[in-house]
């Protein structure tokens, strides 16, 4: 009982510590402050012997962990449990968390540790102090899940789900939601396993009906479990994904769309690209109209212009009838190639080369110039330097050809990249290079006469 009351007043006593922590006046705290102060001769109360010993012990454990000396760390840990007897209530309460954190790590990596040891340890730790029950349960379940013990994990989560202590605080609520969501995820795993089984069964079979009935039940339970969490702001990719999959399976397209729309467009949520990707994929599966797809990808384009879906976006825009979509299509291609990770994307270069020609033939020089204006002072050295000409030619001739075409169109045939590639004498590509030269001559936005 005393444990309980102490934990409740903990938030008050914690302030004491901060005073020594926040010392510099800037509000910044320094973990190494105590070390500095320790070097100054003490004028006041010294740390108790026991506190000194436990601190030393803690640092031994940390050191051993960082040196991967699991055996030694375990030995030190054995002694460290003594801190649970500390007369300083503040320290005593902080101890379970530290013990769990370090202890689970040791047991996770210790060569002689096995699952039973870990389970025993986790079960013990859950019940020391009340504040850590949920957290430890969750992590324990993750551990079990990681080791493929789905049933045990499920049981663990079920236990934790029903656990309550005192007033239901918001942090407790989030944790419980999280636990429920993981439980839902586990159910999803079972469900998807059953779905696999089902797909092997004949529809007219008797077994098919029971199996599908089973699946229905699961789905209902899962939706209850997952629903609560995915309303909370956060990144819940695996949960959303599985939930939507189940909803879709049962034909609840509207429900799925709502979940995904909410996940993608709710302002309280972080701007998670995956949310938009999921929504796009869903709409694509649903065979939604092109306009709809474009509008989803437009937002993704604003968040992640470098995403590989942007090429798909470009294709959609290209196919669209609207003029401004065609313009956006060009912008998207330029945008993709702005990024360092996409410089070798041959598809993007191919698209750009093709689309540039197309655009220029369509008498939209202004579009190209608009895009080019903000890039002309850095694309030449970023993409079309002679260094890249050499290395691209060496590594990927096809890429080099595409880039050369783009370089020629944008920079004129005097550009180093184009010159280098056009001078290359390659049996296979001779024809292609010739074609490139021709295109450049015809389309280049740089007028040599001026």
């Amino acid at each position: 009982m005393s444990d309980f009351s102490e934990e409740l007043i903990r938030s008050k006593t914690e302030d004491d510590q901060e005073e020594s922590c926040v010392f510099s006046g800037t509000g910044m705290s320094f973990p190494w402050l105590q070390k500095h102060i320790g070097t100054v001769a003490t004028g006041g109360k010294k740390e108790k012997d026991f506190a000194q010993t436990t601190n030393a012990c803690l640092s031994f454990i940390q050191e051993a962990l960082l040196k991967h000396q699991w055996q030694q760390a375990a030995e030190f840990m054995h002694s460290y449990f003594q801190i649970l007897e500390d007369s300083d209530s503040h320290k005593r309460q902080a101890a379970p968390e530290i013990i769990w954190k370090l202890g689970s790590e040791i047991l996770f990596y210790h060569p002689k540790s096995n699952m039973e040891t870990f389970n025993t340890f986790a079960d013990r730790m859950k019940n020391i102090g009340v504040m850590n029950y949920l957290k430890i349960s969750l992590q324990h379940a993750l551990y079990l899940l990681h080791h493929g013990m789905l049933e045990d994990a499920n049981r663990n989560l079920s236990h934790a789900e029903t656990w309550r202590y005192g007033e239901k605080s918001s942090s407790q609520e989030v944790l419980i939601n999280l636990i429920q969501a993981y439980k839902g995820l586990l159910q999803y795993y079972t469900w998807s396993k059953k779905k696999m089984e089902l797909s092997t069964l004949d529809e007219d079979d008797y077994a098919y009906n029971t199996a599908s009935q089973n699946m229905l039940n699961h789905s209902w339970k899962t939706s209850v479990n997952l629903c609560a969490l995915i309303q909370t702001p956060g990144v819940w990719d695996p949960f959303v994904k599985s939930y939507v999959e189940m909803l879709e399976f049962y034909g609840d397209q509207d429900g799925a769309r709502e979940v995904l729309t909410n996940y993608a467009y709710d302002e309280k949520f972080p701007s998670n690209p995956n949310a938009h990707i999921y929504l796009y994929n869903f709409l694509k599966r649903e065979k939604a109209p092109r306009e709809k797809l474009i509008s989803v990808l437009k937002i993704l384009y604003q968040i992640v212009p470098s995403h590989k879906l942007m090429l798909e976006f470009h294709r959609l825009l290209r196919k669209s009838e609207k003029e401004d979509h065609h313009k956006l299509g060009l912008e998207v291609l330029f945008g993709v190639l702005d990024f360092a990770g996409c410089t070798k994307n041959i598809t993007a270069w191919k698209y750009l080369a093709k689309y540039l020609r197309q655009t220029l033939m369509g008498n939209h020089l202004a579009w190209v110039q608009e895009e080019w204006n903000s890039r002309k002072n850095w694309w030449p050295s970023f993409h079309f330097s002679s260094f890249w000409a050499k290395s691209d030619w060496k590594e990927d001739k096809a890429l080099a050809c595409e880039k050369a075409l783009v370089a020629g169109i944008l920079l004129g045939k005097g550009c180093r990249y184009f010159r280098f590639i056009s001078k290359q004498d390659d049996e296979v590509l001779r024809k292609k290079i010739k074609r490139i030269k021709k295109s450049v001559k015809k389309h280049s936005i740089v007028n040599p006469g001026l």
């Binding site: 004491d16 005073e19 509000g27 705290s29 320094f30 942090s171 990024f339 360092a340 990770g341 850095w378």
Partner: protein
């Protein structure tokens, strides 16, 4: 680019730091990061689980790093420590003793040791005029007094450190009367500055962010086994060294030849190097300058350009995308893109911090996957800004707050872009953000939500990080994290493309240079201590490389310490430690110990540091001056001077007159009258001398006015200072200066220059409302009655007896003005009486009248004081603090404080200015380059 198809579940909560209502996800352990949620089917991930269980371990070859280069010729001193700055007291009601900045102690030491500096400015202020409050002007002579002589006392002869040293009466009175004022001004003015300085030093001790990013860089050479280390050397870290190093496979790195030097005019704080499109560039940040070099294939550095940053540069980074492009940030909050061709372009400016208010002027900028987008960081967060977009817009990438479940007091210490330009860029969108507690990996495509968080728990500030290429195909990439205290942590980053970044295996700590102590032979304590201090010197740079051609992955790690030492260590990858293996413990090889011994020998050959600070013993300027004069005027104590010069015991013959050893000490000075003075003299057996003096006094009227004037000035000084009068000056009424009051009243008749010796007379010059106060005051004074003028003078020996009684009176009057060649302890016992010296040399006001022989700082006071290095020896620390003395040169200027206007300006202007710098870099750069 791929985006991870499924991110780890994370709660997203907005709010300030240390929001207690959020379930702290960092409570999750490191292994939690190893846990991957099965994507869809449970079957898939069992293999992965097995894969993860095999930890990666980089095994050090030796228990600690080894010195790579011989120690530099400059001695090194650890500088200010916590002991110097802190006072640890306990308040009875606190649970913990609290450490506070020890201003009191520092201040008192400062006043003892640098009294002239502490008080002289005040005296200089007083020097001009002293005006008695309320006294209207009679004549200049009477009412305006000079404190010059007093200042001479103060300035020239401090009782250094010895509270019992002789004080002149004047000084004593000055200190009593002026005490409140002096104390106040010194405490308020100097104390404030001192506190500021101490706080600054203390903050610097806690976190010295000058070296953020690291001052050591590895420039790869033509072959993977050769490269160059670039680092600052020399006591002031102002020599940039280029040391070629070979990394033979399976052997220790070796320095090839002597390093090339470039002498700069400021300490090097950060050295950055990058090879972009085959072009190696080297950028250096000093306090107020940044410079760019190009390193040729042969390893020669050619200067490109220098940039002057008026407010001080805090960070510099080289673009991984475009050769020769840099981002520079300054204390003013401005961030500029800098290219040698196009000059500067200010892309961001905000003196405020991003998320919440933090006083630190530290700013940082780095690049992102988009060459035209930068990250701008300060202590509170990191923002992504588009340099081509409208100013002021941007997106927070990292926010010190609940989004990343930051703790209270958590601050950003380092941000770094982890992507690099390579044939296959890995992690091209990841940014590393380090705080004093944790390390965050943030993807710029998903701002605010860290992809990974790991509590590094480093015991010092993590100010440098190096991401290395994967040692073998498919291996996780090592990420080195270095703390200021030399602590090193190695993390393994896995996950590229479609999978989220995660830690592969538990992080690992690497030995730091203080672990190398065991490789050195045991020394005698003093040298051992020196060695220890040297090994413990804070790290200021970190460089690492994995020579790719080696059959077995090897990691070479170099660390630069503040003492200028480069240590290296060598690590082997132990990919699969096996189920039963323990981390093996390395041991010292004979080669390693031999190397250490050689280094140690060189280290001990370096003369130890001269103490940073030593208490001054004498102020020489006055004494030297007086010596010159004495040569002319005085025929006197040659013997004494010789004794002093020889440093031997002072003997009778040296002084030339017999000591007054016989008679018992004179009685306590009573009321100062002629009779008692005479009796006193008689008691001491010097009545004849007294008589002569009396005679001389009355016979020398020519001297009187001067003396009087001096006294008047002095006394009015104090009356104006303290509001009370010294009785000894009762004889002269206070006057206001002629020039100050031309309409001086012709009144009262009793105030001619001649002496007025009654209270009533002096009272005439005092405004009536103050007379009663004065009367009351004087009634309490022991000095009463009409004393003979000379005797009641404050300078008279008799009246100063009280102050000087404790010292043996060994010398005759007027004999003890000694040359200050040597201060023997005997000197303390030798002193002159002011009376005689005043009479003997009344006109020489600048001469020291007393305390020529000061008690030198006695041994017990000469203890090593908390040394505030030299900066404190000046009363205005603000001047010294930034007095780096780098002259302004014709270089490009960082547009500090110009606000947004710089942005709109055509860049051409900058470009032309810079062009000058390019043409003649050796002349116009403040870093004078001497290769």
């Amino acid at each position: 680019m791929d985006f991870p198809s499924s991110l780890r579940p994370t709660l997203f909560m907005t709010g300030p730091l240390g929001l207690s209502n959020v379930p702290d996800m960092s409570f999750m352990c490191s292994w939690r990061d190893a846990l991957t949620l099965p994507e869809s089917l449970p079957e898939n991930f069992k293999n992965e689980a097995l894969h993860l269980a095999t930890g990666l371990l980089w095994e050090p070859e030796t228990p600690g790093p080894l010195p790579l280069l011989p120690p530099g010729p400059d001695p090194w001193d650890p500088g200010v420590t916590a002991q110097d700055l802190l006072f640890r007291g306990a308040f009875p009601f606190r649970r913990k003793p609290q450490a506070v900045l020890d201003v009191t102690e520092q201040l008192s030491r400062f006043l003892w040791d640098h009294g002239d500096i502490a008080f002289a400015p005040l005296g200089k202020l007083m020097l001009e005029n002293f005006k008695l409050e309320g006294a209207r002007s009679r004549s200049k002579k009477k009412t305006v007094v000079s404190v010059k002589s007093l200042l001479q006392d103060l300035g020239g002869h401090q009782p250094w450190g010895c509270p019992w040293a002789f004080l002149s009466y004047r000084q004593r009175r000055f200190s009593i009367v002026g005490g409140p004022v002096l104390g106040k001004s010194v405490a308020s003015l100097l104390g404030e500055l001192l506190h500021e300085e101490l706080a600054m030093r203390w903050e610097q001790l806690l976190l010295d962010d000058a070296f953020t990013g690291g001052a050591l860089a590895w420039v790869p050479g033509r072959t993977p086994q050769v490269g160059q280390l670039v680092y600052p050397a020399g006591g002031a870290l102002d020599t940039l060294c280029f040391q070629e190093v070979s990394l033979p496979p399976g052997g220790d790195p070796q320095a090839l030849g002597d390093p090339g030097h470039i002498q700069l005019r400021g300490p090097v704080r950060q050295v950055v190097t990058r090879t972009v499109q085959g072009e190696s560039l080297l950028a250096v940040r000093s306090d107020y300058h940044c410079a760019l070099w190009k390193v040729s294939k042969q390893g020669r550095a050619a200067p490109l350009q220098v940039l002057q940053v008026g407010k001080g540069a805090t960070g510099i980074s080289l673009s991984p995308h475009l050769p020769g492009e840099l981002a520079v940030c300054s204390r003013s909050g401005a961030v500029c893109l800098w290219t040698p061709q196009d000059g500067l372009q200010q892309v961001y400016k905000d003196p405020e911090t991003l998320v919440f208010c933090d006083p630190s002027p530290w700013r940082w900028a780095d690049f992102t996957a988009h060459p035209r987008v930068l990250t701008v960081g300060d202590r509170t967060g990191v923002k992504i800004i588009d340099t081509q977009g409208p100013p002021g817009c941007g997106l927070l990438l990292f926010r010190g707050g609940a989004e990343a479940s930051c703790r209270k007091g958590e601050r950003v210490l380092l941000t770094q872009y982890l992507g690099e330009c390579g044939p296959e860029p890995q992690l091209p969108t990841l940014h590393l953000i380090c705080t004093q507690f944790s390390l965050y990996l943030v993807d710029e495509r998903l701002p605010l939500v860290p992809m990974l968080k790991w509590d590094h728990d480093l015991p010092s500030a993590p100010l440098w990080a190096r991401l290395l290429p994967p040692p073998c195909p498919g291996c996780p990439r090592p990420l080195l994290l270095g703390g200021q205290g030399g602590h090193l942590q190695l993390l393994h980053l896995a996950g590229e493309g479609a999978s989220a970044p995660r830690l592969a295996g538990p992080p690992q700590s690497l030995p730091s240079s203080s672990d190398s102590l065991s490789a050195f032979p045991l020394l005698e304590p003093k040298s051992q201590w020196r060695l220890q201090e040297r090994l413990k010197a804070p790290t200021i740079g970190l460089a690492a490389t994995i020579p790719s051609s080696a059959s077995e992955p090897v990691l070479s790690l170099f660390q630069l310490s503040a003492a200028g030492d480069v240590f290296h260590q060598h690590l082997h990858l132990q990919a699969d430690p096996g189920p039963h293996s323990r981390a093996p413990t390395a041991s010292w090889t004979p080669q390693a110990t031999a190397c250490c011994s050689r280094w140690l020998k060189a280290l001990l050959d370096v003369p130890p540091t001269p103490p940073v600070w030593a208490a001054p013993t004498f102020s020489h300027r006055r004494l030297l001056g007086c010596m010159e004069q004495r040569k002319v005027e005085q025929k006197e104590p040659e013997g004494l001077r010789a004794a002093m010069a020889a440093g031997r015991l002072l003997q009778q013959k040296d002084v030339g007159s017999p000591p007054s050893a016989g008679p018992p000490p004179a009685p306590e000075p009573g009321p100062e009258d002629e009779l008692s003075a005479r009796l006193e003299a008689a008691w001491e057996g010097r009545v004849a001398a007294w008589w002569e003096r009396q005679q001389g006094r009355s016979l020398g009227p020519g001297r009187q006015p001067k003396r009087r004037k001096r006294r008047t000035q002095l006394s009015s000084t104090f009356s104006s200072l303290s509001g009370r009068l010294d009785l000894s000056d009762a004889t002269s009424p206070p006057h206001s200066p002629d020039r100050a009051s031309p309409e001086a009243r012709p009144r009262p008749p009793g105030t001619p220059p001649s002496q007025e010796s009654t209270q009533e007379l002096w009272a005439q010059g005092v405004p009536s409302e103050r007379q009663q106060t004065l009367r009351d005051y004087m009634a309490r004074l022991p000095l009463r009655g009409d004393a003979p003028r000379g005797v009641c003078s404050p300078l008279s020996g008799t009246s100063s007896i009280r102050a000087t009684r404790s010292r043996p009176q060994t010398l005759q009057d007027g004999t003890a003005e000694l040359p200050p060649r040597r201060n023997t302890r005997r000197g303390a016992a030798v002193s002159s009486s002011q009376t005689s010296s005043v009479w003997a040399t009344p006109s020489r006001q600048h001469l020291p009248r007393d305390g020529v022989l000061r008690c030198p700082r006695s041994a017990h006071l000469c203890r090593s004081t908390p040394m505030l290095p030299r900066t404190l020896s000046s009363p205005s620390p603000s001047v010294c603090r930034y007095g780096t003395g780098i002259p302004k040169m014709n270089t490009s200027h960082f547009p500090d404080g110009k606000g947004g206007e710089e942005r709109g300006k055509p860049k051409r202007q900058d470009a032309t200015r810079l062009a000058v710098g390019v043409e003649a870099p050796l002349i116009s750069v403040p870093f004078s380059t001497v290769l």
